[in-house]
């Protein structure tokens, strides 16, 4: 009896909280681009398919990004993703920054930890095949060979 009552109370409280948090505003923005990544169409297409939702200003905000607390998690992930690498701001990066970003992207591809499983779960088309990864890694290697290694120290 006590357990039943406790369960009901907890469920009601959880429902109430869930209802209230829907009114907490979240910012789902897509600011204008500042010079995108210059890559062959196939490479750019793969980046768009697998990375752009979190790593660009061209995020496709899904319907569930309007439902708290999921919306908070998604907005948080996109904000952090854009801070890490933002393909829409590629043109504003210093050459040394571009180089670092490319190195990290290469490592993430090599270790197969991007896109994250939680994202792939809802976006199966974002999965990268071995061929996709190999093509991206080859392109990154060639881009690193030509990218200026100018330092950002001032």
């Amino acid at each position: 009896m006590i357990l039943k009552k406790l369960t009901w109370a907890a469920a009601s409280a959880a429902f109430g909280v869930l209802l209230v948090v829907q009114f907490v505003p979240t910012e789902r923005t897509n600011p204008p681009a500042q010079g995108t990544l210059a890559a062959p169409p196939q490479i750019e297409g793969t980046f768009r398919r697998a990375c752009y939702d979190c790593h660009s200003n061209e995020t496709h905000w899904p319907w569930y990004s309007r439902i708290a607390p999921l919306s908070w998690l998604i907005v948080h992930d996109v904000t952090l993703g854009r801070k890490e690498v933002n393909f829409s701001e590629w043109g504003s990066y210093y050459p040394a920054t571009r180089r670092r970003k490319l190195e990290w992207i290469g490592r993430a591809l090599h270790e197969a930890n991007m896109p994250p499983w939680s994202y792939r779960l809802m976006h199966p088309d974002a999965r990268l095949t071995e061929a996709d990864r190999a093509a991206l890694e080859r392109w990154i290697d060639s881009a690193l060979a030509t990218t200026s290694i100018e330092r950002s120290s001032k």
Partner: protein, 125 residues
């Protein structure tokens, strides 16, 4: 021998189980901290939009702990590709970066959230 628990018994049982889990969870970070207690500890401060000192010179072959203290009003990300580390540091926060024994060389680090911040280096000799 099987015990049949009444409602109160179940509540007590779950309370004890949760208490045990909480104690174990609290003990894990303590144990982890002890593991690193003997490492060399160096402090790196982020103030006035730059790292200070900009160069940390450390001996080779010794594990190292770097405490990154962010005294500025913006979130930074302590990052190093060579060290394979990236960690965001909120204003006023201190993070701890544990590094294994390093080979002699220079390992650059930077604030990945602000590309105008001069990069620093851990020089291992």
């Amino acid at each position: 021998m099987r015990h049949r628990l009444d409602s109160m018994g179940r509540v007590k049982y779950f309370t004890r189980a949760i208490g045990t889990i909480a104690i174990l969870a609290a003990a894990v970070p303590t144990f982890a901290a002890d593991v690193h207690a003997e490492d060399g500890v160096r402090e790196l401060r982020f103030e006035n939009h730059r790292f200070a000192p900009q160069t940390l010179t450390v001996p080779a072959g010794q594990a190292l702990t770097v405490r990154v203290v962010n005294t500025d009003k913006e979130t930074i990300e302590f990052e190093s590709f060579k060290l394979n580390r990236e960690k965001a540091v909120s204003p006023g926060e201190t993070i701890t970066v544990h590094l294994p024994a390093l080979s002699p060389g220079s390992y650059d680090f930077y604030d990945d959230f602000h590309q105008d911040v001069p990069e620093g280096a851990i020089v291992v000799k």
